[in-house]
């Protein structure tokens, strides 16, 4: 009856590391798995948006508020591959109402790898290559067009770039502030902790939306979009680090009480060794979980600000900027495709939340 040879619960997981346990546990969370693929797809789209989009963000056409173009594969009963019909605009002589008339006699083939609007990939590699497109005199608007006849599908794709990265920069700033301030508070304790906690309470008390509006309104209209973009991320981050800093602090206070930290001090490890060997590894999984919660909050924040006209402005495109066009009820009911960016926001934020749920469950594999 020796305890030495008592087999632990699962005999084959004895040498699994924490990360392996996390992977196994995460793998059983189906919704989180789907989400991680979905988010991967989102970021791939963002990376190659200009290439995937048939048009640029600023290519006006006479076809204002054109509905989504239908794609056909058969012409006169014969398979010819994907193609669209050319469209004409006609005005009703009495009401002056415009109609889009599909001319079924003039098909236009969809071509792969075509030259079109030029762009700079990743901001510096000049290119004009697009995955697909049609001839100049035809229209291919998978998501219809907006008031200036610009292709909504292209704009939606390219908007993911700003919308998904404004979150990352903001989250990075949030994390640096949250970890440093919360870390100092929890690690030093005492007076430092007290002062920091009162400051955190003060910042938490500032009402979010009015503060954003005030700061957003203070951005001069003459600033370049890049400058505005950066300022917004900083504004969002300046408010959102408080939650994280509190969590970092309490987690640190909790971990400091663990006997293995005391054991390391008895062993003679220095503060830095303890932070690097014990506290940070214990924290890593926890921080990743927090990331998945912070990023969608930043995305929503940018969308909200831009929607109210306080954040990004045209000609920059982001989900919030695009949704400005869908601000009135008439537009939504007549041109429902303008709402598509809202769907992308919802799907993206939900995916981040499911991912966060899955990670949260998996992050502490030793908790039963």
């Amino acid at each position: 009856m020796s305890d030495l040879h008592a087999a632990p619960a699962a005999a084959d997981d004895v040498s699994w590391s924490q990360w392996k346990l996390i992977r196994v546990k995460f793998g059983s969370h189906k919704l989180a798995l789907v989400s991680i693929w979905l988010l991967g797809a989102f970021y791939l789209v963002a990376l190659f948006a200009q290439f995937l989009a048939p048009y640029g963000t600023w290519q006006p056409s006479p076809y204002a508020y054109a509905p989504p173009t239908h794609i056909h594969f058969f012409f006169h009963g014969k398979f010819v591959g994907p193609m669209v019909y050319r469209t004409r605009i006609e005005s009703d002589p009495e009401t002056f109402e415009r109609h889009f008339v599909v001319d079924a006699s003039r098909p236009a083939r969809i071509h792969w790898f075509v030259r079109g609007a030029s762009y700079r990939w990743l901001g510096f590699i000049p290119s004009s290559l697009h995955l697909f497109g049609v001839e100049q005199d035809a229209q291919l608007n998978l998501m219809g067009t907006d008031i200036l006849g610009r292709d909504c599908f292209s704009r939606d794709l390219i908007a993911t770039q700003i919308s998904l990265t404004v979150g990352l920069i903001g989250v990075f700033i949030t994390f640096v502030l949250g970890c440093l301030i919360g870390g100092a508070s929890g690690y030093y304790g005492g007076v430092v902790d007290n002062v920091v906690q009162r400051f955190v309470e003060f910042v938490t008390c500032l009402p979010t939306v009015p503060m954003w509006m005030a700061l957003g309104a203070a951005i001069p209209a003459s600033w370049s979009n890049l400058k505005v973009y950066f300022t917004i991320t900083v504004i969002l981050a300046l408010r959102s680090w408080t939650g994280l800093s509190r969590q970092v602090r309490s987690k640190l206070l909790e971990m400091r009480e663990e006997d293995y930290i005391v054991a390391a001090r008895v062993a003679g490890a220095t503060d830095w060794e303890i932070i690097l060997r014990h506290l940070l590894p214990g924290f890593a999984s926890y921080l990743i979980v927090n990331l998945t919660v912070e990023i969608p909050r930043m995305i929503l924040g940018e969308t909200t600000l831009s929607f109210f006209g306080l954040g990004l402005r045209p000609p920059t495109v982001s989900w919030g900027v695009l949704l400005q066009d869908a601000q009135n009820l008439a537009a939504i009911s007549t041109y429902p495709w303008l709402m598509f960016p809202a769907c992308m926001v919802v799907v993206c934020v939900l995916a981040f939340n499911f991912l966060g749920d899955g990670l949260r469950d998996a992050a502490d594999p030793y908790k039963e």
Binding site: M1, S2, D3, L4, A6, P8, D13, V14, S15, W16, S17, Q18, N194, R198, E258, D259, Y260, V262, A263, A264, R265, V266, A267, G268, A269, E273, R277, H278, P281, G282, Y366
Partner: protein, 338 residues
């Protein structure tokens, strides 16, 4: 007793904690967690420290290994070169070279092992803090200690969660012994274990003491476990020593009413070869008011069945009543005779 025979001598060790501690916390005052405690631990033997929960045992143990700063008092540690060092007077930096000579075993075998480290890294940690140990030597030494505590080499690559409670405590013991320390503070080392496993771990600790000549400061909350391992026992009550004696004297002729009640809580004595099963930790009655009670009077009087007039006015000092036997009680009569 000469200083030479004693590895460790603690003199007037005290520690207070502020109640509350918040900036705007209305509560005033302090808890005297440890109050002028003095004792000596003989080299190669086991000194028991017994008391109910909250009596200051952990605080004493942690002050000795200097992870809790003492408020006052001396911790005299006899160096191998026969010179005595006051640990309480050292800075953290001066303390570092001494760390390898004193280690600690913890109560909760799971919480005391970092779940993200392999057993090899956990056991090797105290060695890594000693500078100038070559990686090869470190591995050899870790493997050696691992086998010494009855684990196998293939356990070294596993993580703590894969082990049973008793095995985890063996890992903790291996970590404590890897630097070849002279003093090991075992803070309730078996309290969290099943009774059958307790016996194995206690046997292991006794065997290791015989093999290595290590000195234990063995902390427990009941006298059952202490009886098996300890040579000398100090009974702690509310941060103060109530009674201190050789084990035999303490069990045969307890002089303090608190010691008597602790002995009554232990099942009838067994032959010396096995530890008695451990009773539940006695709940500390009316702890808070008692802690804050004015200094005058005996701290135990509220629970004492033998209390007299004098107990409310005068605090009994710890005084010797026989060689090696001291008690902090006004009455040096045999208790049963009062």
């Amino acid at each position: 007793m000469t200083e030479q025979r004693n590895l460790l001598t603690v003199r007037d060790l005290s520690k207070s904690y502020r109640l509350g501690g918040g900036f705007f916390d209305a509560r005033e005052g302090t808890v005297r967690a440890v109050d002028r405690v003095s004792f000596s631990v003989e080299r190669g033997r086991t000194f028991g420290l017994v008391g109910e929960s909250g009596s200051g045992k952990t605080t004493i143990g942690r002050m000795i290994v200097r992870v809790v700063e003492p408020d006052q008092g001396a911790i005299l540690f006899a160096g191998a070169a026969s010179q005595t060092i006051d640990l309480a007077a050292l800075t953290a930096r001066q303390m570092r070279p001494l760390r390898r000579r004193m280690q600690m075993i913890f109560q909760d075998p799971l919480s005391s092992l970092d779940p993200r480290m392999t057993v090899a890294r956990i056991i090797g940690e105290p060695l890594r803090a000693v500078h100038g140990v070559a990686p090869g030597d470190l591995r050899d030494r870790v493997a050696e200690v691992t086998e010494l505590v009855g684990l196998r080499r293939e356990h070294l690559d596993r993580y703590p969660h894969a082990f049973s409670g008793g095995q985890r405590q063996r890992i903790g013991i291996a970590r404590a012994l890897v630097t070849g320390p002279e003093l090991v503070v075992a803070d309730e080392a078996v309290s969290a274990l099943d009774v059958s496993v307790q016996a194995q771990v206690l046997n292991l600790m006794r065997d290791l003491q015989q093999k290595l000549g290590v000195t234990y400061l063995f902390i427990a909350h009941d006298l059952g476990v202490v009886r098996y391992l300890c040579d000398t026992v100090a009974v702690l009550y509310r941060g103060r020593i109530a009674e201190i004696a050789e084990k035999r004297d303490l069990y045969r002729t307890p002089r303090h009413p608190y010691t008597e009640s602790l002995i009554a809580a232990v099942p009838p004595p067994e032959p010396e070869d096995g530890p008695a099963p451990q009773p539940r930790e006695p709940a500390a009655l009316d702890q808070a008011p008692d802690h804050e009670a004015p200094a005058a009077g005996c701290p135990y009087r509220a629970r004492c069945p033998y209390r007299q007039e004098i107990c409310a006015h005068q605090e009994p000092a710890l005084r010797a009543i026989a060689p090696g036997h001291s008690v902090a009680c006004h009455f040096d009569l045999q208790l049963k005779g009062i």
